[in-house]
Each structure stands twice: as structure tokens, then as C-alpha cells.
Amino acid sequence: MTIRSTHTTASIGLTVVALAFLGIFVALPLVTVFVEALSKGIAPYFSALVDPDAVSAIKLTLTVAAIAVPLNIVFGIAAAWAIAKFDFPGKSILITFIDLPFSVSPVVAGLVYMLLFGMQGWFGPWLREHDFQIIFAVPGIVLATVFVTFPFVARELIPLMQEQGRDDEEAALSLGASGFQTFLRVTLPNIRWGLLYGVLLCNARAMGEFGAVSVVSGHLRGLTNTMPLHVEILYNEYNFVAAFAVASLLALLALVTLVLKSILEWRLGYAHRSAGH
């Protein structure tokens, strides 16, 4: 009985500590965002959101995500498929490379693109000759975002596909299905929840990315400003209400992501359980 009671005390204590921590470091800032954004009332809040620069930043963020996320899906599925279902030389190197964006600071990633495509960079002169701008333009922002979000889908799918093995695909092939039919009707349904989960995280990161994008964007208002960059500019101009108004959109995105993530995790758990024999 003593063991049981100390156990209960310990678990209550730990729960309190964890909740306090969560409250101070996560909930409080989140609440602050909305409180600050609405501190002058509803009208200034909405006028900050319909400001042309803000609208342009929102549009750019959506555009970048609309390019980066599909690229990530294609790459992620291809890489996970190759790694989970086949053995080939250089497999471990590929896995390491997929993880690289997680281990490198986003600022460094941005700088690498500056070095490659910037005016003084390796490909700078050639790009200038052909009148093609990457740095301080949308292509650079897309590149930086793709780099940073590179591992999300692949990382989610690799363990899932490894666990599922090749039996289902081989069964489909033995029944006469083509490779494409097998992928569409067997592989894709098997990984759909994991894929959605990866896409969700990838999207959240693509929209929220600051470091790498900040380096290559050049912060041109109305042109190369994404939402996170726009928030920073407004804040530096002491325009708190507008800054927090735009930030509240990102916070909302985060909350929606979290809710969807929980639903997906529940679904994934269900799928895993029912996959058992």
C-alpha cells in the first residue's frame, strides 16, 4: 500500500509540474497572441489582415506551401518506397541525407542557397545572364522551404512501410495487377493515414518556416514577404496589433494542425491495431 500511495503522490506531482510547464511555455504565449491581436478591438484586427501587404504575405505563404507540399509528397513516397521495399547500395547514405534538414540549422540552409544562387554565388553569374532570379524572389523561398520540409513525409512513411513489408504488394502482383495498379489500390490505401499525417506536419512547417526563408527572401514587402517574415517586420515597427493579428492566423493554423493531428493519430493507432494478426 505504501508503494501505491507514494506512486500516486509522485504521479500527481509530475502531472502538476508538466501542466505548469505547459501552461507557462505553451498556453500562455498562445493566449497572449490572441489577447494582443484583439487588444484594440475587432476593427483594427481585421484591418490589419486586409492590409495589402498582409494579403500579399498570406498569398505568398499559401503559394509556397502549395508548391512545397506536393513536391514533398512525391519525393517522400518515392524515397520511403525505395528505402522500405528494396535493398540497394547507398541506402544508408540516402537515409542520412533525408535527415540532414533536421540536423542543420535553417539559417545555414538559407545561406547555402545564397552561396549557390546569390549574385556572388556559384551559379549567380549564369543566372543573371539568363535573367532568372532565385534569391530575393519566390523561387528561392520555395527552394528553402522544400529543403527544410524535406524529411517530413519520408520520415513518417519509412517505418510504416517497413513494418508493412512487401507481402501485400506481392499478393497484388501475383493476382495480375500492374505496378501502378498495385501502388494505387494497395500501397496508397495502406499508407494513407501516415501520409496525411506527414503532409499535415509538412504543411505546418512550410507555412511557419522563418530562418531559411528569412535569409533568401530579402524581405521585400508585398513581393517576397511570407507571413512569419511579415509578422517580424510589423513587430519591429512597433505595430503590435497588426503583428499579432497576422501571428494569430499562424497560431490558428497551429491549432487546426494539432486537432487534425490528434484525429490522425487516433486513426493511425486504429489502423495499426487492426493490422495485427
Partner: protein
């Protein structure tokens, strides 16, 4: 008829199959029996077209299919863990092979469904077409997998450890049922198993494999009664093995003569293999084996008696009629070996 000619397959430096020759007759039920790592599953996958040999060729009815992919070989493959498509209903699983056909060859949706229902009736799962695999028991899933493989009207049915993941009772029922189904359909079938009982009960012929080579091919009776090697003798059925010496037609175990026909085995050290049921109690007779009983338990209509024989450490198992009282531990029994087989110590049958 399926002909395998000189098949070899390596995984890195591991030789999974070494120069395999095998003929499978039309309509027969063939078992590939062996311990894990013997190459039996690899051989099955090569026949299916799910794996490809490094050397040798595979022919179906005289046509070389070595380089044909699984989809073009018209084989039905049943996987050990069923590999049912979890997101599809049972009927959709069974109809899958028909639904992926090219448009010109594809039956209508209604026809596919009708065929699926027909096959589900055949495997005694009529009415369960609307369920999902997760809602079925292991034995039911196995039968769905079988129905799915049969839907494409294969010329050959391949089963990888078909009962491996089932509990003993279901396994036994399913075995009997599969044997009946085979007799009813007459479809050439090959199954892989590590369970010798399963192979002996089901198969017309058994292929015993070890370390990538075929040790013996024969009917269940031949493989059990006339094992061609020490490995087969030890792997198929329970076997006791005694180190003996052969000299001038007489078998001796530690200088004690054993009454047994030696056949044509050369003089020298040899192994005497005998089944637990090939002994009888023969007190006060020469040429017997003295067994010190360590334990006995009931196995159906007989006692399985475990004991030791002076001079060797291994446990000897013999079966004695349960009409008599069970032997007590410590009791000494004089056993006459009615029937045994001698192998030279390198494992080759004399």
C-alpha cells in the same frame, strides 16, 4: 508439369539454393519440407516468379518461364500471413485479381461479385463477403486468401506455410479441408512447411530440404519408413540415434551386440536410427538395449517413455502399449529394436 532445372540462388555470400532439380507432376499435392534456412520458401518464390534464380531455369509444361514475372505465370500464391488487403471488404479481396484485368478482359462488376460469392461458398465463407479482414478469425482469413488466389484460375497453387499462424485445432481442421479441396479441384499445388506431420498428412509427395539442397523426394511413406539420409531420418518423425560399431555383419553398441540386420554397410563406426514405436520389451533375451526409465507420459493409446542408455548422454524415447501400467522412473527395461536403419557417420545411407 513443372520442371526445375539446376536452380541456384545466393543472397550475398549465403547459398540459399544449390543446384536444385525437381519435377512436379500435374495434379499432385507436393510438400516442401525443411527447417528454417533450408531454402524451401525461396524455392517456392522462384516457382511463383516472386524471386529469380541466379542460375538454372523453370519450365511450366515445357515452356521456359524463368524470366516471366509473377503476373504472367498464372499462379495462385497464398502468403503465410495471408496478406489480405485490409482496406477492402472480403468480397473485394477475392475479386481483386479479376478487377485489375485489362478492360477488354475484365468481367462486369456484378460478374466479379458473383464469382467472389461463388468462391466464398467454396471456402465455406458464404455470406461474409461484406466483412473486412480485421473482423475475421485467422482460419477465415486464410480461407479468404485461398479464395482470392483461386479467383484468377491459376494453373498452379502455391502456399507458403499455410497453417503456420493458426492454433493447433484450427490447423487440423483446415488441413483436412484443404486436402479435400485439392482432391475436389485437382489443381497442382505446392506448399511449404516446417511441420513434418503436416507434410506427411497432406502431401502426395514430400520434398525434404536442408541447407539449400534436396535431401530426399518421396511419398510420405517412403520418406518416413525409408529415410535416405541421417538428416531425413532425424527431421521427419521422432528418431533415436545410437552410435554403434559394425564389424563383419554384427552391430555393437558399446561392445553389447544388437540383434539387427546390417545390410551392406561397411565395417566401422555407424549411427543406428530407430523410431520410438519400433521397439518391444524383450526381457531375458540376448541382443537387447538396457533402458533406464526417467519418465513416462500418456500419448493417446501408448506411453511415451523417456530414458537413458549407459554410455550416451542423449534421451532415448520409446513408445509402449498403454494397456500395461506406466513404467516407473528408475525401472530398467530390456528393449529389442524391431526395426532400425544404419547410417555411416557422415550421414549417407548404407
Amino acid at each position: 508439369m513443372i520442371t526445375l532445372n539446376n536452380i541456384s540462388k545466393n543472397f550475398g555470400s549465403f547459398k540459399a539454393l544449390k543446384n536444385i532439380d525437381l519435377e512436379v507432376r500435374d495434379g499432385e499435392f507436393l510438400a516442401l519440407l525443411g527447417p528454417s534456412g533450408s531454402g524451401k520458401t525461396t524455392l517456392l518464390r522462384i516457382i511463383a516468379g516472386l524471386a529469380f534464380p541466379d542460375a538454372g531455369n523453370v519450365a511450366f509444361n515445357g515452356d521456359d518461364v524463368t524470366n516471366l514475372k509473377v503476373a504472367d505465370r498464372k499462379v495462385g500464391f497464398v502468403f503465410q500471413h495471408y496478406a489480405l488487403f485490409k482496406h477492402m471488404s472480403v468480397a473485394d479481396n477475392v475479386g481483386f485479381g479479376l478487377s485489375v484485368r485489362a478492360r477488354a478482359m475484365r468481367p462486369s462488376k456484378a460478374a466479379i461479385r458473383a464469382r467472389a460469392d461463388e468462391l466464398l461458398d467454396l471456402v465455406q465463407l458464404g455470406g461474409l463477403g461484406g466483412r473486412y479482414p480485421a473482423q475475421l478469425s485467422g482460419g477465415q482469413r486464410q480461407r479468404v486468401a485461398l479464395a482470392r488466389a483461386l479467383a484468377v484460375e491459376p494453373q498452379l497453387l502455391l502456399l507458403d506455410e499455410p497453417f503456420g499462424a493458426l492454433d493447433a485445432k484450427v490447423r487440423k481442421e483446415l488441413r483436412r479441408w484443404l486436402r479435400q479441396l485439392h482432391e475436389q479441384m485437382g489443381l497442382t499445388s505446392i506448399f511449404v512447411t516446417h511441420d513434418q506431420e503436416e507434410a506427411l498428412e497432406l502431401a502426395d509427395r514430400v520434398v525434404v530440404m536442408d541447407h539449400g539442397v534436396i535431401e530426399q523426394i518421396g511419398t510420405p511413406g517412403e520418406v518416413y519408413m525409408l529415410p535416405g539420409s541421417r538428416f531425413v531420418s532425424g527431421f521427419v518423425g521422432d528418431t533415436n540415434s545410437l552410435p554403434v560399431t559394425v564389424s563383419r555383419g554384427a552391430v555393437k553398441f558399446h561392445d553389447r551386440p544388437i540383434a539387427l540386420d546390417t545390410g551392406s554397410i561397411a565395417d566401422g563406426p555407424a549411427l543406428l536410427d530407430f523410431r520410438p514405436h519400433d521397439v518391444e520389451i524383450a526381457n531375458e533375451q540376448p541382443g537387447c538395449l538396457p533402458l533406464v526409465v526417467t519418465g513416462a507420459y500418456r500419448r493417446g493409446g501408448y506411453w511415451r517413455v523417456e530414458g537413458t542408455v549407459g554410455g550416451i548422454s542423449q534421451v532415448i524415447e520409446v513408445d509402449l502399449d498403454a494397456a500395461n501400467p506406466a513404467p516407473e522412473p528408475g525401472q530398467r527395461l530390456a528393449l529389442r529394436i524391431r526395426r532400425g536403419r544404419l547410417f555411416t557417420t557422415d550421414g549417407v545411407q548404407a
